[in-house]
Symmetry: C2
Subunit: 569 residues, 2 copies
């Protein structure tokens, strides 16, 4: 599908909206000057436009399949993967010691977004590897690092994460895959894992599986889980992919979308694995990987939103309608204009949230500052859930802009919607994200949230001069969010928080979106396209926060007033 | 897919919420006593459960296909169609003179909903025929009526509507199919039509196409359009299907869903047709058909919502998670409970809106009363758009309830979403519905809307005793809707109304939902499942109306502040 990299938007956000400058001023990222970053984003954008985007439809129409136990991938994916690897886009933020570029995650985030817009099914592969790289950097032994990181960063090998089992999805603690110590310090891993994205392929020399499993006599639940590196091929004495490990791909799932990405059922039959992190410390290591991946998945949503938006806009600009002389196109129709502008406004909001989350992670990594760490932790579930919800909502609206053509697969609008739908589910469903937000992320008594709200209100105060109405609307929305946050923090019963967690998260994202749109408008002056977009968002979309907050405050009592028997027909 | 007919809910709504009693008290529907209707709904429910529901997945996995110019349908559809026809469900509301049952549309609406829940792809076939029957009843000559209506009502033949052409979708006036008079009073119809649902099948003796076309020298635009009956096979001297007419199915569309329903590209090559209604009066005749079909499509959305809800509930009741002893299921989780209760509450609201629209149509037909006619006209776009939006939103939430399994096609959750997506597009996109609401339907200066709001507020006043908070919330929401309605009516520039038409329609539906939930609670007393559901809806979902109304009032100015060039990347 045709795609234009929104490099100008990325740079505008980095320059004026999400305080990327702070990152470039740290010692850790001193070499990542603004102009270096722009050059990298520009070049990556070119690869996405020219190499990845033409493969988007093929991923759907020529999906991955299993042939004699081997996954065959969409024609062209192998070459495109090579272009991603050679561009250095897999290990952009990985440690230079092992071949990474050591760039801020904020920059990687822009590139991940562009790859997601251009070809989501393929992009999922390097995204998984990026998470694995980070998990190994933080938790693996030096030996494992030296062996695996260079190959993962270069893209010769790729990585997967193996959490889910048929009876253990969101409830990870229920997993039953076993890891029994061998005499040589390795482990024999046995069990079945499902929903393994890119569990195999035909274009990397090896596939490295990080597998959650239980040691013999491990405690039940999440406390008894350990993490293992289980490669498809065992490294030989030179560190290259050697003989096959005892595992296989049992089958591929037939999914609603993302057909270019093989979703595998994996069977491990005493496969040789190496412990990553300590015994029974698997969840901690996995969370490193998942936190990275959560932002990454949120960015997938943003990427699909951008892709679907551009696709719908192109159609609206071309589709003739309305004028007798045949010159009018549907982009002039108020409802089509409303849809497109809303899509663009929401995409901008979701993108800014993701980038500000990446900046917080960068600052946390660069400085170790607890406030930045808390900010990153607070923003991660919002970036994941709102990014993916935006991807779904925008792709859905993209179908609508196309009218009848939207339902015809050949057009491609439907594919965006089918592909992106899973992003609200994997890496922790959006419900899980929302519970994380109102549970763990407010377990500081709301401190991190209040600090962010202080910033939002301070910014709004400063914007009153020149953007009075918009500033007031954002300030009031932040204040309303603060009140509901206080209400949530005051609830001792977790159920009361959980009952409204999803609407609370959406309201939080709405307010953040208003905040970032206002900043974008401020930097522009008093008029211009970003101010017009901010006005659209703040006047028409931000008001949703009030209804969402009412829902969030309604609590658990009324919810359980409907008994299970009352839910029946 | 397993499905249980919600007969109890239908009867509760008919008895206590949508004033169906008024219909049974008219002379026209004197025989349709409440108990007769219940018996019919019960029996139809059994057919849907036992005959249609088992075919739902087959429609997706064994889709219709074109073989040597003939459409082959999903195995089992032919027999299920026969069951629908023999049950009398096609001509339920058709005139008894031609074999119809003459029942209120409210009753037909419940049956249409159940068929949609059980097997949407097949149900679309009789729905199209129902629209055609009504168009012929109102506009065809006695000769055409006598020839076609008995066969359509019995289901021996079925009907389609042919509006869209490649360059004429929402802009019907742009169509170019030609109809040239023959010497015998018939017409030779030539042109291509697209998106023809059930344009052909292999289980009825004939397929009757109502085709919009232009006479030679007709005026441009919608004023120059006429309607023609163009049967696949020309009736012979006995009125049976005779020789083939000059038309063919060119191809079937490959769609996002609804694969069991063949969507045809039809080619007419001088096909013989008969004028229905006067020359150049095609739009009026078509609107009769479309108005019926619009309610019918809204009901499709409600039906899919019910089906997807039941499917998700069954999964949530079965899926183990959380308790150490293995007895807990995810239905106990607050976020899953929130999703399911929200799905049920919205489905109830959408169903009540559809049934109240059907009641208004029945009253209009029975009494000719202008206020009922205006009420029906006002509610039709709301029933269509909110019903289908609810179908999409509930099916989407159903996918989410399933977690990872929701994305796996075998589960069936994804199919509901893929199938129902088109309902927001066909029979006039939901954007068109919303423009109809704020344009034509408020062209009475808002009279019909205000009359409805008066009723809502009066009901809420009466409910203050016993349901104080809920009543107050509904009253306030109605008042807010009234204010925005006044604002809309005061806008002379149509663009200002259109810019916020879709959020206005949604807000209207939200308020109507609150109204009907409150009525359901009132009839129950002060506690019980319907009161609990009403409380959920009114406390958690109704508050959305405020944000939507803010959007609706924002007008066109700010919308067009973003120029077309500002929408570009």
């Amino acid at each position: 599908m045709p795609y234009t990299a929104p490099t100008r938007d990325f740079m505008y956000l980095l320059d004026h909206v999400v305080n990327f400058e702070t990152v470039t001023r740290t010692d850790a990222f001193a070499e990542a000057t603004r102009d270096v970053c722009e050059a990298i984003v520009t070049e990556a954008g070119r690869v996405c436009e020219e190499v990845l985007a033409p493969l988007q439809r093929d991923g759907d129409t020529k999906p991955a399949f299993l042939e004699n136990g081997v996954v065959r991938t969409t024609p062209g994916f192998a070459e495109a993967y090579r272009a991603i690897a050679e561009g250095g886009y897999i290990g952009m933020s990985a440690e230079p010691e092992f071949g990474g570029l050591g760039l801020p995650l904020a920059v990687t985030t822009t590139v991940n977004e562009m790859m997601s817009s251009a070809c989501l099914a393929l992009q999922l592969n390097p995204l998984m590897t990026q998470g694995q790289i980070e998990a190994l950097e933080n938790h693996a032994s030096d030996e494992l690092k030296a062996l695996y990181l260079p190959k993962l960063i270069s893209g010769e090998w790729c990585g997967t994460m193996n959490l889910t089992e048929p009876q253990a999805g969101s409830d990870v603690g229920a997993l039953s895959t076993r890891a029994v110590p061998n005499d040589d310090g390795t482990y024999a891993v046995t069990g079945q894992k499902i929903y393994i994205s890119w569990g195999d392929n035909d274009f990397t020399d090896n596939v490295c599986h990080l597998v959650l499993a239980r040691l013999p006599d491990a405690a039940p639940g999440t406390r008894g889980i350990s993490l293992f590196m289980v490669p498809k091929r065992l490294p030989d004495e030179n560190g290259d992919a050697g003989v096959a490990n005892d595992m296989k791909v049992v089958s591929l799932e037939e999914k609603m979308g993302l057909h270019g990405s093989p979703t595998c059922v994996m069977q491990y039959d005493g496969a040789k694995g190496w412990l990553v992190g300590g015994q029974n410390k698997g969840m901690a290591a996995m969370f490193t990987m998942m936190n990275n991946a959560r932002l990454g998945v949120g960015v997938q949503g943003v990427g699909v939103a951008e892709g679907a938006y551009q696709h719908a806009l192109a159609y609206a600009l071309e589709r003739k309608q309305g004028k007798a002389d045949g010159t009018g196109t549907i982009v002039e129709h108020p409802d089509v204009r409303r849809m497109l502008t809303g899509m663009k406004a929401d995409t901008m909001a979701a993108r800014a949230i993701a980038l500000s989350c990446a900046v917080a992670i960068d600052m946390s990594n660069a400085t170790g500052d607890a406030e930045w760490t808390a900010r990153a932790a607070l923003l991660t579930p919002i970036a994941k859930a709102f990014g993916t919800e935006t991807g779904i909502a925008v792709a859905n609206e993209g179908v609508q802009v196309h009218g009848g053509m939207g339902f015809i697969e050949e057009m491609g609008a439907a594919q965006y919607l089918r592909d992106v739908r899973v992003t609200a589910i994997y890496e922790g469903t959006n419900g899980i994200q929302a519970m994380d937000l109102v549970g763990r992320k407010l377990s500081d008594g709301g401190e991190a949230a209040y600090r962010l709200l202080d910033e939002i209100e301070k910014d709004a105060e400063a914007a009153r001069n020149g953007h009075g109405e918009l500033a007031q609307a954002v300030w009031s929305a932040a204040e309303a969010l603060r009140e509901t946050t206080e209400w949530l923090v005051a609830q001792d019963e977790m159920q009361a928080r959980f009952a409204g967690a999803v609407p609370y998260l959406k309201a939080f994202a709405r307010v953040l979106g208003g905040h970032f749109h206002l900043r974008a408008a401020l930097a522009e002056g008093t008029a211009g396209r970003r101010t017009a977009l901010a006005r659209f968002y703040i006047e028409r979309l931000l008001p949703e926060h009030a209804g969402l907050l009412a829902h969030a405050r309604a609590g658990a009592e009324g919810l359980y007033e409907m008994g299970v028997e009352d839910l029946a027909v």
